[in-house]
């Protein structure tokens, strides 16, 4: 029990408390005259300020003993336990606050990353749109060019076919005319025959 309390409580240690108790017993035993008949024999009055040495003495002894023993075995451990718990709670609150701050930082980082990703996606989308537009434009241009070329080619083919057909017609017409003229020269032809010859020639022309 030595030095269990700081001054002035250190006055109550393993030596002084038993000494006080011994003093209490001795004081109670030896001067019996002090305590005798203070309350027992006299007329009881209603004066609350009436002095009583025995009560004063025992009150002092009881309180000091209670304080010394409870201070050692109860109140100091209780104070230490409450302090430890308060410290524990404060530590846990601090840790929670720290974790909260870290979570906020992480949240901010993720938010930044998310924003960056959104920007990136937006840029990619814009680039893709531009690329798509460009490709579409290219395809359109190429299609137009191809169509134009095809049209030109078709026109040329038509023109060529027309020319070829006209040439064939001319050649057939010439041949037919020659053939017809030859037949006309070799035989006298009556008007009805002449007409039949022309029709036959025309039918041959159509068939050919």
């Amino acid at each position: 029990m030595n030095n269990i309390f700081p001054f002035p409580f250190s006055l109550f240690n393993s030596r002084t408390v038993p000494a006080l108790c011994c003093f209490a017993v001795l004081a109670a035993v030896m001067p019996q005259g002090i305590f005798a008949d203070e309350h027992g024999g006299g007329q009881t009055s209603l004066n609350p300020l009436e002095w009583a040495s025995n009560t004063a003495f025992w009150s002092l002894v009881i309180f000091v003993t209670v304080f010394a023993l409870l201070g050692k075995f109860a109140f100091r451990p209780i104070a230490a336990a409450l302090d430890a718990r308060e410290q524990g709670i404060a530590d846990r609150i601090a840790a929670a606050q720290r974790l909260n701050e870290e979570a906020k930082d992480l949240m901010k980082q993720y938010q930044d990353k998310l924003d960056a990703s959104r920007d990136e996606v937006r840029q990619i989308m814009e680039t893709a749109k531009k690329d798509a537009q460009r490709v579409a434009d290219d395809i359109g241009e190429k299609a137009q060019v191809a169509a134009s070329q095809e049209r030109d080619r078709a026109a040329k083919e038509i023109e060529s076919a027309t020319a070829s057909a006209l040439q064939t017609i001319a050649e057939r017409s010439a041949s037919l005319a020659t053939n017809l003229a030859g037949r006309m020269i070799r035989a006298e032809v009556k008007p009805e025959q002449h007409r039949d010859l022309i029709n036959a020639a025309l039918q041959d022309f159509v068939k050919s």
């Binding site: 009560t55 409870l70 718990r85």
Partner: protein, 275 residues
Amino acid sequence: MSGGINVADLAGHVKDTYSFHFPWGHWEIPQVLQTFGISKYVLLEFGAAAVMFAVFIPFARHICGGKQAKGRFWNMLEVFLVYLKDDVIIPSIGSAKEAAPYIPYLWTLFFFVLFCNLAGMLPWMGSPTGSAVVTGVLALITLTVVIAAGIKQHGAVGFWKGMVPHIEGKIAGIDIAKILGPFMFVLEVFSFFVKHVTLCIRLMANMFGGHLMLAIFAAFIPMSAWAIYVWIPITVCAILASVAVSFLELFVAFLQAYIFTFLTSVYIGISIHQH
């Protein structure tokens, strides 16, 4: 009128005696104990001390190592202790570090006063704190602790010198502090001791007054027994008034324990942080 207030009978309920008054008779404290000066109040103080040991040592085991108290009673007890420490003692003394050495003393003081006050709420018992002797001893111990706290902080000379507030200024070339200093010192020292006397008187007067009032209400019943038509209403009123005053006394028991502890904390704080 067959009844009448017998001062001795009333005093038996509100004063320290060597016997307990029960409805079935008186129990005289054994002569051996009387020889040692052990009276009713002393026995009740022993009882209060025993209750404190029975309550706080198990509680200390319950919460040792920072464990949480479990159960309504232990939680209630912890609420008292934490409230006193955090909301009464530390703010009154200054800081947690300064208050730490005095917390066990102030806890002891609060619960000792409280249990002594509450002893008066038990039938046929009494409040030791209704005696100026008991409250005087408590005030004396508080005075000792306050002086010791001041001396520890400022030194023996510094503590007494520090009671005089700092005075500046001169009158006709003479320092005012030199003129008023001695008077201020006497006044402050007188005020210092009176504060502790009031500590004693306040607690005693509240507890004594309350129990005396209960005794007087109870005394109305035999006083009015001379006529049945008076006795019945007076008895009913006396019982109702006694119940009401008992509730008030219960509140006062806690309030006065709080005030005693709070003022002690304030006085310790003042002695540590002087003018």
